[in-house]
């Protein structure tokens, strides 16, 4: 059955068509003159086709030149003479005498041919097709996205559970609202499926953490840490000062280029923070991933080809068991590892960030271990895969305690496509809300009465299934999939040249590639 919005579509298209129809301008603009009229201004005008109608029905068509002699007794030019049945009787230089003329006619053919627009559009379309055929993994987006709707604008909050590419990898993902401050107690979030994916969402809750004038950050182990005071940073990358790049949350992100021979090649950056009386230091990292993750996922799915379902089922089973395949892969390439320097100048592990997702930035706090050197400076080293992570801001802050969040379920969940209230199902922990490409759910939450005194986070849990594009099937190669499992190091080396070719263009293509409902 057609949705009522669909019924509006046909009239809309027809209205556009009628408007265009009413605006259609003629391509043939014709004027006629009696022989005694003043038509001299049209003579020898190149863009006009002149025709002379004789009283006996004959017609002179001048398609090159039309002139009159000095006495205006006759007209001549090059063209054809037609009889009244419009058979050609004469061609070449033809002469029409004034006393036989009934009418003189001018015809202007307007060159407003839509062929030009269609040709340009065809060129654009072909270019897009060629690009997407040669780089299919660059033309597709990823993950469920959440937006805060302030009534005027929609602000991206999070891309949820991006790493949950199959049921066994389902997990909760917590994202801060960051600089987004709700303006009213009742707010609306939009949960969108902007990808060629099936999203299965178990829940999406707001966590309201009482801030009490402090900053609240979530840690990788799911705690909410209250902080105060911040410290300045100084840092060097390959011997060059890079402090300013990391100072502010300004969307100016650090990202290196991948290694042309090995996608798993690592890099290290060392930063120095002044302690600034910080007693329990925590490193706040604003970050997201590059599109290398997306590339690797899509390329692997392409290698799985027609057998993707079977491969994923096997992997799903392995993940549910104890096989560490994903952990091993994550450790090789997908982790941002943090170290601090102890009293003896040794680097000791401080924490790991492995949050997946190239769209929305995440803010995560890494509490530094107690063994961190107690001097005026705190040294931190980040080790990560080259070209894998984007870092916007780094700051050191003082952790003064933990905070407990209030869990807020949506009061109303509305399937906007079907205009259906799905609140009960959405809030049921036993059920999934499933969305397909282009669909979106409105989630209405009621915040605490003193809503301005809280920091907000979104906690979403679920998984998603990537759709296999027909373009990918051609690359099916089970040996490559096996290589990923048993020789992942070589797999990442073999794919390096392929990614290097598209690395520069992929970001821009991806940014413009989100899928929305029509």
């Amino acid at each position: 059955m057609l949705h009522k919005k669909h019924f509006l579509l046909l009239p809309a298209v027809l209205i556009i068509a009628l408007v265009v129809q009413s605006c259609s301008s003629p391509q043939v603009v014709r004027r006629t003159f009696a022989p005694e009229d003043d038509y001299s201004k049209y003579i020898q005008t190149k863009d006009l086709i002149f025709k002379v109608h004789y009283k006996n029905g004959d017609l002179f068509v001048y398609d090159t030149l039309y002139q009159s002699n000095k006495q205006n007794q006759f007209f001549y030019g090059y063209g054809r003479r037609l009889d009244l049945n419009r058979q050609v009787t004469e061609s070449g230089r033809i002469t029409a005498f004034r006393d036989s003329i009934l009418l003189i006619e001018t015809n202007q053919i307007k060159d407003d041919d839509p062929q030009t627009a269609l040709t340009i559009m065809t060129g654009i379309s072909l270019a897009a097709t060629i690009y997407c055929i040669s780089n299919p993994k660059a033309c597709f987006g990823s993950c469920p996205t959440f937006y805060y709707d302030d009534g005027n604008e929609q602000h991206l909050i999070a891309e949820a559970f991006s790493q949950s590419i199959m049921p066994s990898l389902e997990r909760e993902d917590i994202d801060a609202f960051r600089e987004i401050r709700p303006k009213t107690r009742d707010i609306r979030l939009l949960m969108k499926n902007e990808s060629l994916e099936t999203h299965a969402v178990r829940y999406a809750r707001i966590l309201a953490v009482p801030a009490e004038g402090k900053h609240i950050y979530s840690s990788v182990d799911g705690r909410f840490l209250k902080t105060q005071r911040e410290s300045l940073i100084s840092g060097m990358i390959q011997g060059e000062e890079c402090t300013e790049l990391f100072l502010y949350h300004d969307q100016k992100e650090y990202i290196s280029k991948t290694d042309s021979a090995d996608l798993a090649a690592q890099e290290e950056i060392i930063f120095t923070f002044s302690r600034n009386d910080i007693k329990t230091p925590g490193l706040v990292v604003t970050h997201r991933q590059s599109l290398l993750t997306t590339f690797l996922l899509y390329q692997t799915l392409a290698y799985m080809g027609n057998e993707t379902g079977s491969w994923l089922t096997r992997l799903d089973g392995m993940t549910r068991g104890s096989d560490p395949v994903f952990k091993q892969l994550g450790g090789m390439i997908g982790e941002m590892q943090f170290f601090t320097e102890d009293e003896n100048g040794n680097w000791i592990p401080a924490g790991i960030i492995d949050e997946t997702g190239p769209i929305a930035q995440e803010v995560t706090i890494i509490p530094l271990p107690d063994q961190t050197a107690a001097g005026d400076d705190i040294k931190i080293k980040i080790r990560m895969t080259k070209g894998f992570w984007k870092i916007d801001q780094l700051k050191l802050t003082d952790i003064i305690g933990e905070a407990e969040p209030l869990i807020i379920e949506p009061q109303l969940a509305k399937d906007e496509k079907r205009e259906k209230d799905i609140t009960e199902k959405f809030n049921s922990p036993e059920e999934y809300t499933v969305t397909l490409p282009g669909e979106y759910i409105s989630l209405y939450y009621r915040l605490p009465e003193d809503f301005a005194g809280y920091d907000y986070f979104l906690a979403a849990k679920g998984y998603y299934l990537e759709w296999i594009r027909s373009e990918w099937i051609a690359e099916e190669n089970p040996r490559r999939v096996l290589q990923l499992m048993v020789q992942p190091g070589q797999y990442f080396k073999d794919l390096a040249p392929m990614y290097k070719k598209i690395e520069d263009d992929m970001e821009e293509t991806f940014r413009r590639s989100k899928y929305v409902a029509q």
Partner: protein, 175 residues
């Protein structure tokens, strides 16, 4: 939603793509504006007649030869005069329509290979394709329900003989 949109789109395109002309039979119109102008012929006129004409309710067509105060003269197999007061609808066409609807639909379908870039390319094809197709279909088509003298005078220049023809010349006209 997608399915219903596709149905509507396909229906619209089929409707438009079948329209090489609005009313004229195939091969009765020139293919380009320039060919029409240089042919020296009139446009193709389609008339729907009303009572008291014997063919009331029927549609008749022919090349627009000329008109006088009371009648329109069309050439089909023979020259036929139709009194203006029995004409319920008149449509004058000058040239065949180019199959832009197919260009539009093939272009739109090709966006399936664009991945998510189709969010731009698919509507863009519609933005370009709909005006092109509909514009192509309706330019140089002069249609009037219950045509009045203003309409007849407006299209007179598009007759084969816009200044009329002497009585003794009319008999020389053949198909």
């Amino acid at each position: 939603m997608w399915r219903s949109k596709i149905y509507i789109l396909v229906a619209l395109v089929i409707m438009l793509s079948s329209c090489r002309t609005v009313h004229a039979p195939l091969n009765k119109l020139e293919k380009t504006p320039e060919a029409f102008v240089k042919s020296g012929k009139g446009g193709w006129m389609t008339l729907r007649l009303k009572a008291p004409h014997i063919d009331a309710g029927k549609t008749k067509g022919g090349e627009f030869l000329w008109q006088d105060e009371s009648s329109i003269y069309l050439l089909n197999d023979t020259i036929t005069a139709y009194p203006k007061q029995v004409i319920d609808l008149a449509v004058l066409e000058l040239m065949e329509k180019r199959p832009y609807a197919w260009w539009w639909i093939l272009g739109s379908v090709s966006t399936a290979s664009h991945g998510f870039v189709l969010i731009f390319s698919f509507p863009l094809w519609h933005i370009v394709g709909i005006p092109s197709t509909v514009g192509e279909l309706w330019h140089d088509v002069y249609r009037q329900e219950k045509p009045d003298e203003k309409y007849w005078q407006g299209i007179n220049v598009l007759a084969r003989f816009p200044g009329g023809l002497d009585e003794n010349e009319k008999v020389k006209i053949s198909k």
